[in-house]
């Protein structure tokens, strides 16, 4: 017998110390008082007194200890949580990557296992861990976030709550040593926790939460429209315009900039509700490993991937786009040709010339 999936609620912040975990624990305490069977499956205290005080009276499922490279690591004991089977489980730090040797690579995969058992989950994360914002975060702050989480994982959350604190208040908390120990706090304030970085990240979090709210409203509208369409009704007067689905095609190569291209193309596709495909043109031997890595990255973001074994990249791209109803082609800038080849056209130039009936987007690298 299959159980109904548990509900997922995400507390979204824009930096460590804004109070995500605190807010989550506040809700946990409220639920406990209402008699809900709730446990802490994973909690990262960071030595913060006010937060630790909020855990009082909440049952904790002990973590498991793992050894890796001679060091001891503590991870959530997902099996123990599943055995305990509470109504609600608290799991801090949604974007966490598990230490090698655990069953699942990412904590969000553990969370999916818990949800699958019909347990509701409350969790926390920062906006900079969203895959689609990775380049924008780098551009705004100079920091390349390594631990990312695919957007669809967060989109699937039943509820997203933005936890706000002004950058000034956050910096005050750092100064008072509430967030980190003094020395670490001082370094943090000089590097990541600058006023501009925090403000930029906060704006991203606000916009992302607004976007998620809108997506939920759109989904509700679509569901309502589908119900209506099933009802018998009078045919509308005149021809109905067929809703044309936008289709974005991302051209992958082995070049490192392909990752930026994938994130950007997918982000635009998500916002305009377009389908998203990725294609690589070329023989399988050249840059094989890098191409394969980009293809699997694209698939992780739920992008359909194709390979066309052809030497003529622009023609292959143009004909694939035409046969697959592509409305917009996304590609990276071609590397500049050496001067003795400047009489030739780059692939972008060739495609632009050959596919003048198509929309082509050339994505610039986001540098600092």
């Amino acid at each position: 017998m299959s159980v109904a999936k548990g509900k997922l609620k995400v507390y979204l912040g824009y930096a460590a110390g804004v109070g995500k975990t605190f807010r989550m624990l506040e809700e946990a305490q409220e639920l406990r008082q209402k008699g809900v069977d709730i446990v802490i499956a994973y909690f990262e205290p960071h030595g913060r007194k006010e937060t630790i005080a909020k855990t009082e009276g909440l049952e904790v499922v002990p973590r498991r200890t793992l050894s890796y490279n001679g060091s001891q690591f503590q991870e959530m004991d997902t099996d123990a949580v599943l055995r305990r089977k509470p109504a609600v489980a608290l799991v801090d730090e949604f974007a966490h990557t598990n230490v090698p040797g655990t069953e699942r690579v990412k904590r969000w995969e553990d969370v999916h296992a818990i949800l699958g058992a019909g347990i509701d989950v409350l969790t926390t994360m920062n906006v900079q861990h969203l895959e689609s914002l990775n380049d924008q975060v780098f551009h705004a702050t100079g920091i390349r976030v390594r631990e990312t989480i695919p957007d669809w994982v967060v989109d699937e959350a039943d509820e997203l709550v933005f936890v706000d604190l002004t950058p000034r208040a956050l910096r005050n908390r750092l100064e008072r040593g509430v967030v980190y120990a003094q020395e670490k706090a001082r370094r943090a304030m000089e590097n990541f926790f600058t006023e501009t970085n925090l403000t930029a990240l906060r704006e991203m979090a606000l916009r992302h939460t607004a976007h998620e709210v809108e997506e939920k409203l759109d989904a509700a509208d679509a569901a309502a429209a589908a119900t209506l369409a099933e009802l018998p009704h009078e045919p509308a007067a005149g021809p109905q315009p067929a809703p044309r689905t936008e289709r974005i095609l991302i051209c992958l190569t082995g070049r490192p900039s392909s990752a930026i291209l994938i994130r950007r193309g997918k982000r635009v596709a998500d916002y305009i509700h377009a389908e998203c495909l990725a294609v690589h043109v070329g023989d399988a031997t050249h840059d094989r490993e890098a191409v394969e890595r980009h293809m699997s990255f694209a698939r992780n973001l739920r992008i359909e991937t194709h390979v066309i074994p052809s030497g003529d990249v622009p023609s292959a791209l143009a004909s694939f786009a035409r046969t697959h109803g592509v409305t917009q082609i996304f590609m990276g800038r071609s590397a500049p040709l050496p001067w003795w080849k400047r009489y030739r056209e780059t692939i972008v130039q060739q495609l632009v010339r050959q596919a003048r009936d198509m929309q082509i987007t050339i994505v610039a690298e986001r540098r600092r």
Binding site: Q136, Y271, I272, R333, T361
Partner: protein, 378 residues
Amino acid sequence: MAPGRIILGKMPSVDNSRPNPEELLRKVQADERRESRGRLKVFLGYASRVGKSFRMFDEGRRRKERGQDVVVGALQAGVHPEIQGILKRLDVVPTIPTKHAGRDYQVMDMSALFRRHPEVCLIDGLAYDNPPGSRNPYRWQDVSELLDRGIAVITAVNLQHIREQQDQVERITGKRAANCIPEEFLHEADEIEVVDAPPDALMDRTGGNTIPDSRRLAELRELALLLAADVVDRQLQEYLDSHGVAARWGAQERVLVCLTPRSNATDMLHSGQRNKLRFHGALLAAYVEQADLRPQDRELLEKNLALARELGAEVHCLKGGDFVDAILAFAREQRITQLFLGHTGRPGRAWLARSPIDRLIDGAEGFDVRLFPHGSAL
């Protein structure tokens, strides 16, 4: 700049990147005023009972515990029991109940507050009117006076009380709040903090539980988040400007449509408008002035510009000899993230010559270039 405003004849800042003396003087004066002025912090909520007041009083409590002199300047009727607990530990300067023309008012006791002169004044409910004959017609003006005297103010306000948002709020809820504050007042605040909660939690608290309620609340919530994002975006740009940091890519998507007489303006502008709506971004349209335009081309261009304005684009005319240089400078200055451009009319290319499109693509720093076909879309 408000979306949809039309600015003609604006020059790209390559020529005037240096602020003029008046601007500098204004900046210095503003900085001086800010130095001596009390700080203003506003808690923004999207509906009643999201917990704004509690968050505000809780901050007052924490500041008091840290040794700051905190006083309550205004309370709202029906104080929540959780807040009652906090109030026991804070001094309250009661508002003066006043009756005028059959209406009840609660007026802040300004002279008592001036005498008491606390470091921090908590004011619950910012959007209140004062009766005729008061010191100021509106409470937000009282707050301004407190700030001028160096008293920091922490206050709370709901979305429906922000004047520029009231049309949209009314469209969603069918109701319009009688009292309001100008949105500019929020922009002047040193800090605004959003109090967010999912609508479902709110309905548990308020007892309402119909789907229309939940939908309306979600729409209000989105509006409040976007308003806060705009306030934050402006703060960031002002901070960067005042610290001499070049404008850089923000979190907002900004689309620039490049118009020429022969470009397929309709498709570009409609796509641009859609992206503006979907991303809650900005839509700009620009053309580079050409002296030797033929009359029929001039007419086409005028038509395209009219359409741009109709679709809510900010229209800019760029003066400057070279098309590509003018567009690139303008895109940089305006923090553009997506540039829309038509494919060139002529097929093929001159031997060794780089087309304007090639040069634009090469020069695009931090923004995407999207090329549109001529004629109707595919």
